[in-house]
Amino acid sequence: MIRLLLAGAVLFAWMAASADAAETKVVYLRAMEAKARLSLIEIPPDDNGLAGARLAIDDNNTTGRFLNQQFSLEDVRVLPGDDPAAAITTLAERGVALIIADLPADPLLKAADAGRNLLFFNVTAIDDRLREEECRGNVIHVAATRSMLADALAQYLVWKQWRRWFLIVGSHSEDRLYGDALRRSAKRFGARIVQEKVFEDTGGARRTDSGIAQIQRQLPVFTQGASGYDVLVAADESEVFAAYLPYRTWDPRPVAGSSGLIPTTWDASHDQWGAVQLQNRFMKMFGRRMTARDMQAWSAVRMIGEAASRTRSFDPRTLLDFLRGPDFALAAFKGQRLTLRDWNLQLRQPILLSDGRMVVSVSPQEGFLHQVSELDTLGMDRPETKCRLN
């Protein structure tokens, strides 16, 4: 009897609370990622991405306070190699409908297909195929694609008149995909690949004592004898060699791509367009600098907050309709509004070019024009898309 009364009281309290404020839970679903990095300072923190989502939940709740909307975040982890479908089914049964997906491409597709009524925000996978032949109507892509990153870099190199490229591509499949994207960009914007080489990953540790002595001997020889080039462009997502290239090339040439001048959606040094406010808020809350993954997760949760405040709804279908419609604009400290490409649900965004210490430039570059949005000069455009959304 007492238990029944208690349950009744709890139910009443819950109903009273829900009459006051509508609440929704956002799940941050992540696979534990590999942390191998050549540079010690680039090893990602444990809460990489998650921290950005947490800050955005706070920001959403500050707005929500005035609109009686409340947001909460739950961190759900799956092991690498696990099928996330089971986790999605459980979450769906619990009534969760909004997922920030920090997953590689294949697990993301499995998750999306297991939860067709859920709305996913891809904050990690940069694979173009997820927005093209394997696009899904319930997956919004906040992370930029390889082709967007490559185009952003290419526009700047062409603007700089560094049109002759020496391309070095790693031997892993992602490296090859990035290499393909860079080749496409070169062709698109009028650069020429005058020399190309593959850097074979023969295994071995990334951290060794006194290994630096060998690297200094190997890299100049590896880059020796290239025909006349302006800039060395490296495609090394696997973190095997690119970080070793600057200052070690046979010819004195700048490095770009996976090292040197790097295209990215965010950099801890970015301070334009009010960004310093976000950087300060992040630093204050987490005691570390904000990464690109953090920014993508922040943007995703802010998109949810923005759509919820405009539609006064948490329904995933309603949010999606708003986000892909003409009234959506995300302010994300990049000097202009971010919107969704309605044909494949990719977030349009400027791309920063960072040297690791400062933002050197922001693409699209001046003069690269487009009939709809200059941001569509970055990545696959509507006429070339292979995506067919239902």
Binding site: D59, T62, F66, G274, A331, E374
Partner: protein, 330 residues
Amino acid sequence: MPTIRRARLLGIGLLGIGLLVLAQAQASAFTAYVSNEKSNTISVVDIDKLTVVRTIKVGQRPRGIELTKDGKFILVAVGDDDTIQMIDTSTYEIAATLPSGPDPELFTQDPTGKVLYVANENDNTVTIIDMEKRTRIGEVQVGVEPEGMGISPDGKMLVNTSETTNMAHFIDTETRQIVANVLVDARPRFAAFKRDGSELWVSSEIGGTVSVIDPVKHEVTAKITFEIPGLRKEAIQAVGINITNDGRIAFVALGPANRVAVIDAATHVVQKYLLVGQRVWHMAFTPDEKYLLTTNGVSNDVSIIDVGSLKVIKTIQVGELPWGVAISRQ
């Protein structure tokens, strides 16, 4: 009414440059102060001569700038020094600093000039300062990244815009409580009341619109959008708003569109776009409303708009990245 204005415009147009020169000669001596965000200076512009006559060194990252109601001091928010400096307009010396709270950007004074309200971007607060004692007397918690500050002509209602929350917060200046929140488009930058208090205008930088709000009902009653042939939507970013005292013409600075929109403030219809310098943000009228000065950040200059003829008549080089402007009677 529109007929009368048109006649006036036509008249000025016909009389042309001769009248313009005459009018300039008759104008009383006004002085404009332009904050240069990058140079850490204020450029002093003589409005009769339309030239920079002096440069004042101030603290780091000067942005929001106003004159005290008695005209004795320039108030300039120097964000990276976490203070507002008071500069004596007779000596151009820094006379005092105000406890503005961290990273002040924009601020507004109540109509009596006794109270100053400051937006603190990093702290989600509005700081309230007693201008006589020069002490902090309170604060109000608002949305994320407070920026724009406007006050109703009777001083009873303070409006703050928060850039990431995308709202205009209405704050009762007596109780210092938020009484209403109005959702506007993305990244609201600036708030301005009509002189008769009938309308509040809020610009949205990323949204690229101006929301016209009924300050009594707290409702958006009209939304002004901008379309400029040859410019993408993303380049049109509304920032500064200045409305003439008679409430008839409004000017809205459009940032990287490098233009100022001229709007019929009664009908909310855009009349024309004036090409100014690059990345135009804030503006100020001369006290006689003959001229409107605009700060053009990227081209390091100030455009002078003749309000009567609605033409840009001159561009003046100032310091690096001019941000705000205030104009005095001296």
